[in-house]
Each structure stands twice: as C-alpha cells, then as structure tokens.
C-alpha cells in the first residue's frame, strides 16, 4: 500500500528552512503563466502579422524606396506595438480573476508562497510571453525587410547601370537604401516597444488586484494608455505653473503625478525615420521603465497583501 508520510503527529521531519524570497518559486509561477497564456492561441496573431508584412512589403506601387521601406517598418512596428499593448493590458488583466475562478489561487497561496512572489511571478510570465513574441516578430520582420531592401537595391543598380553609373555611384546608392532598411538600430525600437508593454503590464496587474471585474481593468488600462500619451502635456503645463484656477491646477497636478508618461517610450518614429536611439537615452528610458515597474509592483503588493480571497 502506498504511504503518504512517514511522520507521526509528534515527530517533526527535518525540513529545509523556509526562504523568504525564492527565485525558484517565482520562476515556477512565471513559466506556468507563460504556458497558460500561450495556449490562449495568441500566436495566431503571428500568422496575421506575417500576412500584414507581406502585403506592406510588396505593395508594388510607384513609391520611392524610402517610402516603401518606411511603410514596411511602420506596419511591422505598429503591429508589434498593438500586439504587445493588448497582451500587456488584456493578458495581465485576466490572470488573477482566472486563478480566483479556478480556485487555483487558493491552492497556490496555501503553499509557502508569499503573495508578493505570486504577483512578481505572474508579471514575469506575461513579460516572458511579450518578449518571446517580439523576438519572433522581429526576426520575421528583419528577414522580410532585408529581402525587400535587397530587391530595391537590385532595382536601383539596374537603373544606374543602364545610365552608365560608376562603382562609386552604385556603392553610394546601396548605402543610401541600406540606411533605410535593416540595420541594428531597429532593435532599439523593438526594445522600446517592450519597455512600454512592460510598464502597461505592471499597471494592469496593479489594477487587477483591486478591480471588481476584468472588464474594469481592461477599460481603465486602455484609458490610462491614452491619457499616458498626453501626460507630458499636463506635466509641462504643471511645471510651468501658469494656472487660471484651482480646479485647473488640481486636474493638471493629478494628471501629471498619477499617470505614467508613456510618450517617453514612443521611440519608434525616430528609428523609422533613420535615426538610432542614442545609448544614453535608451539607458535612461530603461531606468524609468524599471522605476514604473517597481512602483506599480510595490503598490500592487500593498493592495494584494491584505486582499481577502
């Protein structure tokens, strides 16, 4: 007969000491969240992504090579942004309610798992999914962009050769097209998309710790997304201090302080135009994203630690 335990009620078994913080527990929750979300057929979006890129990349209408490559980059980054934003807000919003509904939350928290580790693990799982998805999309996009760029270079070279251009002219045109095509600087844009999604996911997790429904979290999440893109205006207004009334001041203060400035992470446009994100800027933006993630997680911990389940 299989036994369950060799312990009697009095004899204490030798147990490993309890760890107040365990990366192993966090990783366990993160990987299970990753597989849980991945099975929600999110990767069908990748198929749509590839189709969109093929359409955008091979429009074959009479545009200049700069315009053609710009459109391809815009569609790719726009799709990556949209996908990661939706996953960050909606994917995160359903996590805690789903665990409550399935009673899984009780079985997890009745194990020696601190509530803050549960939250961190859930967030890490979402970020893993967003990160992996962006990497895959980036790889597909870079491949298509490279292919299209080379087709355009070949086209330009054939025009030049028909006009009797020199090797130097051909090299110059090749360099010009490559400047608008696949280059390492584009990865900075992908990273900035990830940072924005990470901030939104942290915010969504915070909202879900006290929200009364998943829909509330999603609606407020998207509202904050849009307000956050205009937050910079409120901030500049507040810092200038030129108010016409107390209500105006209060609203401006609230907007500037409470809402995140998501415009800081909107660095795709510059990259599409041909500039690389300066290293110093990228580092600072990463630091600010990390700050937002820590703040939102801390706030979520305070709410969730006392939440009655």
């Amino acid at each position: 007969m299989a036994t369950t335990s060799d312990t009697s009620g009095d004899a204490l078994p030798a147990r490993a000491g309890h760890k107040a913080f365990s990366l192993g527990r966090i990783w366990t929750i993160a990987t299970s969240t990753l597989t849980q979300l991945a099975r929600m057929k999110v990767f069908y979006f990748l198929v749509v992504f590839v189709i969109l890129l093929c359409i955008a990349g091979f429009l074959f209408i009479e545009l200049s090579y700069e315009q053609e490559l710009k459109i391809l980059k815009d569609v790719a980054f726009g799709s990556m942004s949209l996908f990661s934003i939706i996953l960050a807000i909606v994917g995160t919003a359903i996590l805690i309610p789903r665990d409550v509904e399935d009673r899984t939350l009780y079985t997890i928290l009745s194990k020696p798992v601190p509530r803050y580790e549960y939250l961190i693990g859930k967030l890490l799982g979402v970020l893993l999914l967003i990160g992996i998805s962006l990497l895959v999309m980036d790889a597909i996009f870079t491949g298509i962009l490279y292919l299209r760029q080379n087709m355009l270079i070949a086209e330009q070279i054939s025009f030049l050769q028909a006009d009797g251009a020199t090797e130097a002219d051909i090299a110059s045109v090749r360099a010009l097209v490559e400047e608008h095509g696949a280059r390492w600087g584009l990865q900075g844009a992908v990273f900035s998309i990830f940072l924005k999604a990470a901030v939104l996911a942290s915010l969504s997790l915070l909202l879900s710790t006290f929200a009364t429904s998943t829909l509330f979290t999603i609606v407020v999440g998207f509202a904050v997304f849009f307000i956050g893109h205009g937050q910079g205006l409120a901030r500049d207004y507040f810092l200038k201090g030129a108010f016409t009334g107390p209500i105006e001041k209060l609203v401006t203060v609230a907007l500037a302080i409470v809402f995140p400035d998501l415009q800081l992470f909107s660095l795709v446009d510059g990259v599409v135009s041909g500039d690389d994100i300066p290293g110093g800027v990228l580092l600072k933006v990463t630091g600010i994203a990390a700050l937002y993630i820590v703040i939102y997680n801390l706030a979520a911990h305070f709410v969730f630690a006392e939440k009655e389940l």
């Binding site: 009697s8 009620g9 309890h18 527990r25 366990t28 079985t107 009745s110 020696p112 006392e306």
Partner: protein, 289 residues
Amino acid sequence: MSESPQPAVSIDHVSKVFPLPFKKGKGLLAVDDISIHMAPGEVYGLIGPNGSGKSTTMKILLGLIAPTEGGSQIFGKDSHRVDSKHEVGFLPENPYFYKHLSGIETLRFYGRLCGMGKAEIRDRAEELLDLVELQGARDRRLGGYSKGMLQRIGLAQALIHRPRLLVLDEPTAGVDPVGSRKIRDLILKLRDEKITVFLCSHLLEQVQEICDRVGIIFRGQLVREGFLEELISVEDQTEILLRDATPEVLDKVRALIAAEGTDLVSVGKPKTTLERLFLEHAAADRKNN
C-alpha cells in the same frame, strides 16, 4: 506526567465581519467567536448548512482571509505566516487547477512551489499518483479530467510536500458514489498515517463515516462540538442486532423487556443504504467485465 501534544490546529475566539459596501459601521458577521482545537492525527469535520461560515473559518486558518478578532495557529505557528504553510495542504471546493497542465505536471508545479528538489518531486509524485489511483491519467491534461479525478489530483497536490495537516473543503461534493468512496478511503488511510485532517462538508452521512470529532456550525457560531460517537449516540437507547432470530426468540426477548419495565422502541429489519447497494452492483459489474 507527560505533556499533552501541541495541537495541530488552534482556532482561538475567531470572529470575522465582512464590511457591507456603503453601510459604514455595519457588516456581515460570518464567523462569531469560534474556537476549535484539533489534536494531531485527528479527523475533524466541520458541518453546517451553506453560508454558515465553514469555508470562511477554513480560509482564516489558511491565511487567505484575515480575522476581525482572534487568531489561529498550525502546529504552534501563526497560520498567517508563510512558513506555517509547509505544514498544511489544502484542497478547495470545486477546484479546476491549470487545465493546460497534465496530472504529473500539476504535481511538479506544486512541488516546486514548496521548494522541493527535482528528484524528490519525481519520487513523491509517483507515490501520490499510485495513492490516488491516477497513474493511468498522469499525462492527460486536467481539462480532460472528470470531477472525481480532479478531486483526487487535488488531494495529491495537497499532499505533495508531506504536510502534517490536510484541509479539505467539501472533498466529495459533486462526485459520484464510486469516486466519493475512493476519496473517503484515502482520508481514512491518511488518518492511519497520523495526518491531521480538517474537512468541512454538508454531506452528513459521509462525515459520519470518517470523522473522529465533529463541530456543528450555524450562522457563524459553533453550536455543538465533540467526539462523533458521543454526539450521535442516542443516550437512552440500546441497539441489538440479531441474525436468523426465530419468532419464538423474538417473543422471549419482548417478554424479558416488558418484565424489566423497559420500553421497546421498535423491531424490524435493518436497512442497507442506496450507496452500499450501488457499490455492490458496481463491484459485481467490474468483476464480470
């Protein structure tokens, strides 16, 4: 003189008031000054109707809800501390777990949460899958499990880290008689291994079969508590069962009772239960096939 062993569970004067929205100062009294102590190795049943406070009491013990007053301990440790969870395993009511995980993956998941090593989880998972008779479904996703199978894998995850206390909320609710019998047999096996079991149920017959002590809860108050035998014994009556008694023997017994001035309450054939009848047929069916 030996000291009495440390109680497995101590719930001391616990009350819980759920605040009502928009009604400051007023609240819903879900648990009202409940005290329960369980000895190690005991099977304790908390019974009461729906909404009586059974689940709330359980969740307070597990640290899922904070009490308004009072406190609770598990083997001497404050039950709201995370480290006390090493001693307890919980199976909630109607659990679904992560549908995308298989049986073995579920056990691995919970084992890792308890800080167990790979080899330890592997061995323990095999042991538990044998115990709950789910070896055949170990690689099937939980989304394809029946209710009874979910309850059994739920028991297995609750036991993965060898806890000394098991808390079960309605362990047989919604499960068919065969599955229900398996779960009850498992609980009895656990009792034999000196694991303390705290269960709550509104299926009174099942509680009667397995519990040592029972607490009856109504509207958040513990109205009665004690050992099962004492609680259900009809103090002033005695039962004698006879096999193959002839009518003459019965007449002699009646005469003796009358002579002693004792009341004869009833005479008749003892009844089996529908459940036993069902199980006998199920066993016969398995044997034939």
